[in-house]
Symmetry: C2
Subunit: 236 residues, 2 copies
């Protein structure tokens, strides 16, 4: 929805209106790919996944930590929500390490090691709303491109050690569905057993698998409630 100003506005209005302490994690939509294209930087893909070379990392940093993050923060401020935009380097919010080059070299891609949950909780306790983009750092000066769903899961899991957390994945679909074309096929609750079954018969595939893996990881690590759109993730 980050690519659609109307949808983003509606989402941010809803988000701003929700009471209580909250954190927003966002990706960057298609703007990074579009900017790469305009700059004539080739998007390298390996097995359907983008490779982050140095030029692509700069673009991701500009688009995610710069344009998308600051536009979201400015809109939330206008809605009376005291947002603060952060990447993982800011106040050491999220530390990661560069994914090993073997077996596949994805370049400057980060896998998360730790989340500075006390700092994030300190901000939310003060009425400030952290808005996190999916750029992390390795503590040695290197920024790293990181999966936004993984950031959301890691942040929720780390905060769950300090306080009760609900993790809501916003989603362009209604939720997890057996048939994308049929709203009636929405799965209201998904258990690990049902997930295994739906993966085995091919109902759930592709990009939904890492998303659901992250969701199940969060619920089993102590996050009180996890949802993907209208689908509730059950720990059993």
């Amino acid at each position: 929805m980050i690519d659609d100003p109307e949808a983003l506005r509606a989402f941010l209005e809803d988000f701003a209106s929700r009471p209580g302490r909250k954190v927003l994690v966002h990706g960057g939509g298609r703007a990074a790919t579009a900017l790469s294209k305009r700059l004539g930087i080739e998007t390298k893909m390996i097995e359907g996944r983008r490779v982050t070379d140095a030029a692509t990392l700069d673009i991701a940093t500009m688009v995610y930590a710069g344009l998308a993050n600051k536009q979201i923060v400015a809109q939330l401020q206008a809605l009376g929500c005291n947002a603060i935009g952060l990447c993982g380097a800011d106040a050491n919010a999220i530390k990661a390490h560069k994914r090993p080059a073997e077996p596949i070299d994805y370049g400057f891609v980060g896998d998360i090691d730790s989340v500075n949950a006390p700092m994030l909780k300190h901000l939310t306790d003060a009425g400030i709303v952290p808005v996190l983009c999916a750029i992390t750092h390795d503590g040695n000066g290197q920024l790293l491109n990181t999966n936004a769903d993984s950031v959301a899961q890691s942040v929720a899991t780390a905060l769950a050690q300090l306080t009760d957390v609900a993790l809501c994945y916003s989603f362009e679909q209604l939720g997890v569905m057996r048939d994308i074309a049929d709203p009636a096929s929405l799965i209201k609750e998904i258990t690990p057993a049902l997930y295994t079954e739906l993966k085995a018969d091919g109902t759930i595939s592709g990009g939904m698998i890492p998303k659901l893996d992250n969701a199940f990881r969060a619920i089993s690590a102590g996050v009180k409630s996890v949802s993907i759109g209208a689908t509730k993730i059950m720990d059993r």
Copy 2:
């Protein structure tokens, strides 16, 4: 120095090593102009000053709030300095209004109305080092491109109401000089009277005038000590 990785690194090492509470304000160097050029966006100038249209604002936001800010923060973190990168929208750090379109329409350029000094002081008291880029917001969702020297002056002046502040303008020259080619011509102290004299005889001109105006504004508004490179700004 932001365009020169070696110079930036040396500066950040020096900055990180300084004791006490501190705030860093930075511009974006020539990277924004270079990116505009690569994207085929014309840089419009009026009377030697750049006009910030919507496309140019997006580029400034990407380069200043994104790439430059996060690279500085990641490097400071590696140096053991707990930096947090902010634009003016973040936690409502700096509010500005769009400069009136009359007599000259500079586009999305902001003149500063207020600085959230209590929030910045709260961060520095907690051992966190705010790193501010020169993108501000108007509180109604609009980001604005702002002069970095003015941001530094406004932040120093606002913090000076709460605590003792020294404002140091980093500078590519040794300091304010009568003759750029002659290091011996460095002006060690500059008073308002000397400034008036040096402007009248043309020794000080061009971009040095707004820089010095900002410096004198800060010293007369309660900032304890103001310097431009090795030149000390005196209030009388």
